[in-house]
């Protein structure tokens, strides 16, 4: 049996419940959202450590603030990560499942390590919550940073293994015919690619600091000088990290097999051009980070999204070498459940407006004061949830009665 036959027969016998391109789009979109949050987690951990180490009073204040950001953004990153994890298994199942079973031990370690990183982040945040500025400690932040790097390495390895199916068999079947069931494979690290993830973390964190300065501007209990410090630090960081990320990007490009002609891929080209524009724009914003924060964030996300598309294009090139394409995956369209998802998704955006606006307004009033939110917003959000349940439960009762399974 050759690898192409293996890959194509391992596709799930049920086929896809909808067209592959839709899953691919959702995969790229949710991956981009996820990776932005992950970048923020990684970047803010290191920035927090750096600022404490420098021991200036604004830096210490910033570090404390980042401690809270860390825990929240790590949770969000994890939840956002569930979606690409799901969609990758739908269209790339032969790759994903082979890699994770060959490296099962590492796949499970991934979770252990991320849990430890999480609690270390909480240790950093809660441990310093009550501390005054002179006694802020970095120990837990270091621990968290270390575990985060391990997580990055493992997930990088799992993605890389998927790209080289031609090596799989050599890894787990020995020349004398003994098959390994240990699940301990660890292969295919590519430093250029890994760096192209780690360096942008600082760019994303830099932009986040610009947004931070813009958001808290005008709040009485935040002094102007502190916010200027944060904003300028952010713009500076974002600029240099973006510039370095471009360098790492070209390094990675150099590692891509030449026969792909990837430098001419439209997604790659668009991503690279956007990268240059973003870097130049941020470079020109160093003196006024607050005013430029929003457009910088928009550009940054657009670049990351385009680069995620390029990453997907690269994956398709790799996989086509082994005769695999998602576009000929058999499809058995299931319209009712597809509608269920998209309708829920739209409702979700509507509902999320409520916590978003509540958080936004609560952060705008100074400590000790209470923000008032239009009561209609919350009511509508909760009503939408109840309506969702009533509709689905109603549907469920009808289906159950029709199929005679209720009593």
């Amino acid at each position: 049996m050759d690898i192409a036959t293996y890959l194509n027969t391992m596709r799930d016998p049920a086929g896809l419940p909808f067209y592959p391109i839709i899953f691919q789009f959702l995969l790229v979109l949710t991956f981009a959202l996820h990776i932005v949050m992950v970048n923020l987690v990684v970047g803010s951990t290191f920035v927090a450590i750096w600022e404490i180490w420098k021991k200036n009073k604004y830096g210490l204040r910033l570090s404390k603030a980042l401690g809270r950001v860390l825990t929240v953004s790590l949770s969000i990153a994890i939840v956002l990560g569930v979606a690409p994890l799901l969609f990758v298994q739908v269209i790339y199942d032969p790759f994903w499942y082979t890699a994770t079973t060959m490296s099962a031990f590492w796949a499970l370690m991934f979770l252990v390590v991320i849990t430890l990183a999480f609690y270390a982040a909480y240790g950093f945040y809660l441990g310093n919550k009550k501390a005054d500025l002179t006694s802020v400690k970095t120990g837990w932040a270091w621990v968290s940073a270390g575990f985060l790097m391990c997580t990055a390495l493992i997930i990088h390895m799992l993605s890389m293994e998927q790209l080289v199916p031609e090596h799989w068999k050599d890894w787990i079947v020995s020349p004398s015919g003994i098959v390994s069931y240990a699940g301990g494979e660890f292969h295919a690290i590519e430093l250029g690619r890994l760096l192209h993830f780690i360096i942008p973390s600082f760019a994303v964190t830099g932009v986040f600091l610009m947004l931070y300065a813009a958001y808290f501007h005008g709040r009485e209990d935040y002094d102007e000088e502190y916010l200027d410090y944060v904003g300028q630090k952010g713009a500076w960081l974002a600029f240099w990290a973006s510039a370095l990320a471009i360098g790492a990007g070209f390094w990675w490009l150099g590692l891509v097999p030449a026969e792909f002609h990837f430098a001419r891929n439209p997604f790659f080209l668009a991503g690279a051009i956007l990268g240059f524009i973003t870097t130049a724009f941020i470079g020109a914003s160093i003196s006024k980070p607050r005013q430029r924060a929003l457009p910088a964030a928009g550009l940054m996300f657009l670049t990351i999204f385009t680069m995620s598309c390029a990453r997907e294009a690269l994956r398709m090139k790799h996989m086509s070498l082994s005769g695999y394409s998602i576009y000929n995956y058999p499809v058995n369209p299931d319209w009712p459940s597809t509608i269920l998802f998209f309708a829920t998704f739209v409702m979700g955006l509507f509902v999320l407006y409520f916590p978003a606006i509540a958080a936004y307004q609560a952060g705008k009033v100074k400590a000790g004061e209470v923000a008032t939110i239009d009561p209609a917003i919350g009511k509508k959000a909760v009503t939408a949830m109840i309506a969702w349940f009533v509709i689905v439960a109603g549907l469920g009762i009808v289906v159950s009665l029709k199929n005679g399974v209720l009593f």
């Binding site: 049996m1 036959t5 027969t9 391992m10 799930d12 016998p13 049920a14 086929g15 896809l16 419940p17 929240v72 569930v82 979606a83 994890l85 799901l86 969609f87 298994q89 739908v90 499942y97 082979t98 994770t100 079973t101 099962a104 796949a107 979770l111 849990t115 909480y122 068999k169 787990i172 079947v173 015919g177 003994i178 699940g183 058995n332 009712p336 269920l340 829920t344 998704f345 409702m347 979700g348 409520f354 916590p355 978003a356 509540a358 958080a359 609560a362 004061e369 209470v370 923000a371 939110i373 009561p375 919350g378 009511k379 909760v382 949830m385 549907l395 469920g396 159950s400 199929n403 399974v405």
Partner: protein, 442 residues
Amino acid sequence: MYPFWEVPFFTSGLVIALIATFHILPCHLATGAFWFNVYVERKAYKQNRPELLEFIKKFSLLILIFCFVIGSLSGVGIWYAATVASPRGISGLIHNYVWGWATEWVFFIIEIAAIYVYYYTIGKIDPKSHLMLGWLYAWAAWISMVIITGILAFMLSAGKWVETGGFFDGFFNETYWPQLFTRTAFMFGIAGVYAAIVASTIKNKKVKDEIIRTAGLWGVVGMLAGVVFAAWYLYKLPPHAKELWLDESLPYLSHLINIAALAYAIVFVWFVICCIVKPKLAGPVSGVIILLVLFMGIGAGEGFREGIRRPYIIDQYMYGNQIVARDIPAKHIKAEIPKFDKEGFLTHLFFKPDKIDPENSRDLLLAGNVIVHHQCGNCHALDRFGKLRPLPELLENLSPESPEDIEGLLESLGDYPYMPPFAGNDLDRKAASEYLFSIVRR
């Protein structure tokens, strides 16, 4: 078949069981606790009793740090563990229920937004809106249970799906509603235990006793309702599952049920005595003991649910060793056993020794090793000291005299109500028997 992952001694199945049991506590708490939270918060505003808010703060932080973090990570953990233990099983679920999971994901996002904003805006936004955030979380979390229960129930009883292949036909199957109601009732029980433990650390004695009593009441009501729904659930089990349990084909199933029932009774008595009658007794120590009891009870209950599914991992559709058991015409799915019987199992494997000479005994053993791992390894440990039904021991009980005796066993394997038939041609069976015979001690 995907590469097989073997966990020495422990077996991958038990790894899932452990993570799954560990997941149930935080996740039922994450779904249930906020109903209690908003109830207390509402009371605090209505009766103008700010002292109750101290509890809200403590309880929310616990929910956030323990349930939400551990709950979401161990949830992903079950998924990963299931993936590495049974990749084709999880693939089968995902390819039929991807939109279900994606829908659930939307509610996860709402949950996380609501819980963080709720926690960080205590005292910072107007009470009405804050309470609404609590409601939002409570609904989102419970709806995530409404969804996942459909997929869990599908694994136990696939319902009309086997005929129609329809998402909702499989989702709203015969065990869906009883399971949803049972889980919802337990959820209040578990929330009651945690609430009592957290409340026992409050300084104000009056508030403390009041909240513990309320928590006890919630627990008692939840658990009483749970008994009724659980009975309905057991009654609605598919006939095949009931047989395995009631005919004592697998005696350990009744043991599991008994353990679960005993744990249940202990927790119930604890609620009555230590929460309602004498709230003094509900301290962190007795609370943690009760948590352990709960942990055991849940483990037994979920073990039962897994056990009665034999020989399938997905009811009627896929066997525990990840081989497709029947045609699903609506999805163009074909049963795999006839194919493997005709064309051979080994020929359809990719990860195997390159050349196998049927006359060479070493080759035969190597081939048998691969076949047995794939066909038996999901349910049996292959090393003698393995924890899960170790095959060497089970085979020794049958005292086979030769590989041919084992071939006979393999031919009739499908006659056991809890095992799939052996899949493969004569060569596969011969290789598997040679290997199995080699691990038996004589």
